[in-house]
């Protein structure tokens, strides 16, 4: 079986994101870039299928600027088989990204396409469902587990109070929320192998895609409001007294009790 994982390179989750000089994009200086966390989970789910059945092929693709090549290299080092970069220096709207990805799907013909449920930069979560819609495939969201069986693939979908289990007969798009195991680190041989792999580069033009869908127009960005200067209590051997004072403050001062 062939998997295609669509990924996006975003600021690493440990980065303290700051607003840039233009007030409508982030300051990129000194930012460490990584594979978006949900996409990493998607890679892990696909690679676990490859662990179980070595005939499985796991491809990765991204639509993004030249620096995204590092994210693809990272995915190859984790154990993915091949990678494709669709070069787009200017950020595209989600529907246009989906159109470009659909062309790669038509080329590689995977049975299962996995995307992170959203990229942790714009947090829109549009591309996965839009790709399914463009392809005319069904999609299943919030995936945490993927179990192939005789009658198709069981897809576990996190829901309120538990998991919905769905059965899919490929092709299908899955939007990944989490993997049970933490995404694996690249091994040293994996890194060496990944260095030697060619990463073919495509452009929207070479794919025959015209970017004409709705775009995301950010007017302004700001950091979350500053907090702090709160009241700090020390227990000092009087938990009941502090508890009563705090409960009273939440009731009368903050009015949330």
């Amino acid at each position: 079986m062939r998997f295609l994982v669509c990924l996006k390179q975003v600021p690493d989750s440990t980065v303290r994101v700051k607003v840039g000089a233009d007030g409508r994009s982030i300051a990129t200086e000194g930012v460490t870039w990584s594979i978006s966390p949900y996409d990493e989970y998607a890679i892990e789910l696909a690679l676990e299928r490859k662990d179980a059945d070595p005939t499985t092929v796991v491809s990765v693709v991204t639509v993004g600027p030249a620096r995204s090549r590092d994210a693809l290299r990272q995915a190859l080092a984790m154990g993915c088989d091949d990678a494709t970069l669709v070069l787009a220096e200017v950020p595209l709207g989600g529907l246009d990204v989906a159109k470009a990805l659909a062309k790669i799907v038509e080329e590689l013909r995977p049975e299962v396409v996995l995307c992170g449920k959203q990229a942790s930069d714009d947090d829109q979560g549009l591309v996965g469902p839009a790709l399914a819609e463009t392809l005319g495939w069904p999609h299943v969201g919030m995936l945490t587990r993927l179990v192939p069986g005789a009658e198709g693939i069981e897809l576990w979908r996190e829901a309120e109070g538990g998991h919905e289990v769905w059965r899919a007969t490929p092709p299908v798009v899955g939007l990944v929320h989490k993997s049970e195991k933490e995404p694996r680190y690249p091994s040293l041989p994996g890194i060496m192998k990944a260095k030697k792999k060619e990463i073919p580069e495509k452009t929207l033009e070479s794919l025959g895609v015209t970017a004409n869908g709705p775009t995301d127009d950010v007017v302004s960005m700001e950091p979350p409001p500053q907090r702090g200067g709160g009241k700090i209590f020390k227990l000092d051997g009087d938990p009941a007294g502090v508890a009563a004072t705090l409960a009273q403050a939440l009731h009368e001062e903050a009015k949330v009790l």
Binding site: L126, A132, G141, P214, P224, R227, F233
Partner: protein, 300 residues
Amino acid sequence: MKILVVAERRSGEVRRVSLEIAAKAAGLGECEVVAVDPPGGKEQARYSPVAHATAVAEKARASGAKVVLVGATLDGRDLAARLAAKLGWSYAADCTDVAVEDGSIVAKRAMYAGKIRATVRVALPAVISVRPGAWTLPSGAAAPAIVDIDAAADDPRVAFVRFEATSSGGKRVTLAEARTIVSAGRGLKGPENWKMVEELADVLGAATGASRAVTDAGWRPNEEQVGQTGKTVTPDLYIALGISGAIQHLAGMTASKVIVAVNKDPDADIFKIADYGVVGDLFEFVPAFTEAVKKVKGRG
């Protein structure tokens, strides 16, 4: 301007977020509220992307709506994205405010996992999902008239098979919609101490949440994780017990109205954003606090 609101039901009841949106939308334009009856009818209520998005898209086209508003619940976010793609409309997810200005929508939404707040301009027509609790439900707001529409035929390549409940069984209010959340971290020392968290949550009528350390260790189900790669929450009151405050956790709860933190370590980062902090042993404090809350609530 015509607005279509897609309401969602949970166990037969219209969700609070749907009521919040319907109440607000009435002030933004001419508003119609629909709910999709899933395949198999109300009893077998399972959201399915193709069946639901196809039905709502047909309705949106037929009604001449310029905006579709959907509650940003798990299913609502999924539906809104597929719907925007199906219609080829603009899209903004999990918005915390929406206004109509000069023939387009100006929306506020979190980006970068809550580390940035953005104002975005969204061209019409558009599909917008709205974060639960973003709009206060006016007290005494009339229940909206809801038109039920049938789900379209589902894609035959996917089918719901069964539900696997987690131990908590979804008895509590969900994290996304909770007005009060009690969250615990590694400071709780082990799953055997979770009872203490539940007792406080019961007294408060709160949802329970957890730090990533706790869900990764398997003490609590993943769905309770608050923060980046978990849930972003904005309750009126967020109580963090034994959570040190990693940047990924803070990003997911920093927009809460009032934050209470209890931690042994006076230098823990969580205190930097707390409105009320308690430095000390949570095993001493929490049972005492549960009793104190009971007393305050008892007095009304």
